[in-house]
């Protein structure tokens, strides 16, 4: 804030002898973080929380893979196993995948990318972080006391009547966390509508903003439905109501409808921001305008809208009417169209681009491959003829992990690597980070590709043991998970390392264009020293510019 921060900067080491004012050194002390209204600091707070839950969910995943190393249940019994996979799912979905990109990268970048000083409602933004952690505490409390065994889907009447585990505290945790997501989404929509810099019209917005906007709309329309559904489950459990209990005249399929009305769009809450990140990465490292910018922008909105009309494909075997199943099947295939448009346009962007294989780009290219496999198998399981055969098998498990892990987490890590210098002003080691991208890609495929085969062969999901003929593929999967684990731990280590020892990145280490690179790295508290005036669209890389930058890079590498 005040310029005396320069004087207070630690003296001694040559590189910190002069430190520019930024949001990181504007104020010091824990209070300046816990009570901050700065969207950039809140993003970092979220980064810490989200990483914690990712590590926790990852630990549960490791336990699952360890148990499935052998056909017998020699690590744990079925009851424990049920709890472990449930906690893995709940933590990863509600506490990592849904908030990860919007709350960390979105929080940091949305105001900067539109040339605003902050989000429209900074207090609400801080509240969202506290609410998120409150929900997390409820869930952690449930875990410590023995967890939940319903699966992350809470299917009734098991969850409302028969399960003897901590359903209600977990339900409260998810209910509360839903508010934090809504707060963030509401803030984004208002900010994008009302606070764009002069000249920044809708079709000059970066594609990350478009996809974040589309995601926010899904959050606003979907999250309240899961809130009321979970409230009904809790009420039914506590007061012995029969809304979802067939014994009392209720309809458990209605629960599935209500649950998936949110939870299928929730998949798009996870993947849409990831697509936005990938659009940014591809443009920056191919030095080209994203091919068919407008189409990609509209595809985000189309996915948001169509994504709401496909949830019925989770109920093909649950007693849904044949007519409804047919319509949902067709609509599910329809949503593949805008998704495919994006994949084709990214690929077309690469064509004749000046591609540099930096770490973020490696993650982005990995995303395209894995998302394509996940998406195509999605079309398979949306088919009425195939779904009944592979429903509730490892085929489904592999399919959605290709979308959520291969898609969302790849893009999240890619985005983190891309904007890390922006957030911290530091560079991370190049070799280690490229190695991590490679390990994640190889480890991921080794973990989940065998699961496609397992599922196709008929291995059902959610079992602690399996027939011995499935062991070879399960061992491969566990081996892959080990590599994947190393690939995830590596970035945590070198990111932490870079905070203190990483080389100074300069303002724009990638030579990328975009409003976020027109301000120092790390940015000052108010993001820009003067309100930027936008005169052109995003990704304006001219040929000369590209040529000059490439020459510079070449010269630098020779020295």
């Amino acid at each position: 804030m005040d310029t005396t921060a320069v004087a207070r900067a630690p003296l001694g080491t040559p590189e910190t002898a002069y430190e520019r004012p930024s949001y990181l050194n504007s104020e010091y002390g824990w209070k300046s973080w816990l009570f901050t209204l700065d969207h950039k600091r809140i993003a970092l707070l979220y980064l810490i929380s989200v990483t914690f839950f990712f590590a926790l969910g990852g630990t549960f995943a490791a336990i699952i893979r360890l148990e499935l190393l052998t056909p017998e249940g020699d690590l744990m019994g079925p009851d424990t196993y049920n709890r472990v996979f449930t906690m893995h799912g709940i933590i990863m979905v509600f506490f990592f995948l849904i908030p990860a990109i919007p709350a960390v990268l979105g929080n940091f970048l949305v105001p900067i990318m539109i040339g605003a000083k902050d989000l429209a409602m900074p207090r609400l933004n801080l509240a969202s972080w506290y609410v998120y952690n409150l929900g997390g505490l409820f869930t952690l409390w449930a875990i410590v006391n023995g967890g939940v065994d319903t699966g992350w889907t809470f299917y009734t009447p098991f969850s409302t009547t028969y399960s003897n585990t901590y359903v209600v505290p977990t339900a409260i945790g998810i209910f509360v966390t839903g508010f934090s997501t809504i707060f963030t989404a509401l803030n984004f929509i208002v900010t994008i509508h009302r606070m764009r810099a002069p000249g920044l019209s809708w079709f000059r917005l970066p594609l990350f903003i478009w996809s974040t906007y589309a995601t926010s709309i899904i959050i606003m329309l979907g999250t309240p439905v899961i809130a009321i559904t979970i409230l009904l489950v809790a009420a039914e459990r506590v007061f012995g109501l029969g809304i979802f209990n067939p014994k009392l005249g209720g309809d458990p399929v209605l629960f599935e409808h209500l649950f998936w009305f949110y939870s299928h769009p929730a998949v798009y809450i996870m993947i849409l921001p990831a697509m936005g990140v990938v659009s940014e990465l591809i443009a920056a490292f191919a030095r080209k305008k994203v091919f068919g910018y407008r189409i990609v922008a509209f595809a985000s909105v189309a996915i948001a809208v169509l994504g709401f009309l496909v949830w019925g494909h989770h109920l093909f075997v649950a007693g849904e009417s044949a007519y409804s199943a047919t319509v949902f099947s067709v609509l599910s295939m329809l949503v593949a169209v805008p998704s495919a448009v994006k994949v084709f346009n990214w690929t077309a962007t690469l064509y004749e681009g000046s591609i540099s294989y930096q770490t973020p780009m490696l993650y982005a290219l990995g995303f395209i491959g894995l998302f394509t496999i996940g998406g195509l198998t999605g079309v398979m399981v949306a088919t009425l003829g195939i779904d009944p055969h592979v429903h509730d098998t490892y085929f489904i498990v592999a399919h959605f992990h290709y979308i959520m892990v291969g898609g969302t987490i790849m893009a999240y890590l890619g985005g983190l690597h891309y904007w890390w210098p922006k957030m911290t002003g530091r560079l991370y080691p190049g070799f280690a980070s490229k190695l991590s991208a490679l390990l994640v890609f190889v480890g991921f495929n080794l973990t989940f590709f065998p699961q496609f085969i397992l599922g196709y062969m008929g291995m059902p999901r959610r079992y602690w043991s399996y027939p011995p003929e499935f062991q070879v593929l399960n061992v491969l999967s566990t081996a892959g998970a080990t590599i994947l684990g190393v690939g995830y731990v590596l970035p945590i280590c070198y990111f932490a390392w870079s905070l203190k020892y990483g080389a100074k990145s300069g303002d724009n280490p990638w030579g990328a264009v975009g409003l976020e690179w027109d301000t120092p790295s790390p940015p000052p508290t108010e993001n820009f020293y003067t309100t930027p005036v936008v005169t052109h669209g995003p990704y304006e890389y001219t040929r000369e510019e590209v040529h000059n930058r490439l020459t510079q890079e070449k010269e630098a590498s020779l020295v």
């Binding site: 329309l221 709401f308 044949a322």
Partner: protein
Amino acid sequence: MTEHQHPVTPVSTYVYVFLALLVGTGLTVVAAKVDLGWASTPVAMLIAITKALLVLYFFMELRHSARMNVLTAAAGFFWLVLMLSTFMMDYGTRVATVLPVAGK
């Protein structure tokens, strides 16, 4: 800043809307007492929607509101209707079929 705020609505407008809402309430009770057959629920909903629109338009000042706010409100109700109709797409087309059981 005051010039940007919407004009002050006369008290009479609010009172007329209030009276219209009361009449609507009376009407819906009367309509329910009469056996209208299948039409009773549509009639009740039609009255309720009219009342809701009056509240939205006058009390909630949508008539002086930015276009974006009108769009937001419309999107909310549209999505609710979409939700109701897609749920009925399943429940309205359920056919109770008893499949023959093998071996019987």
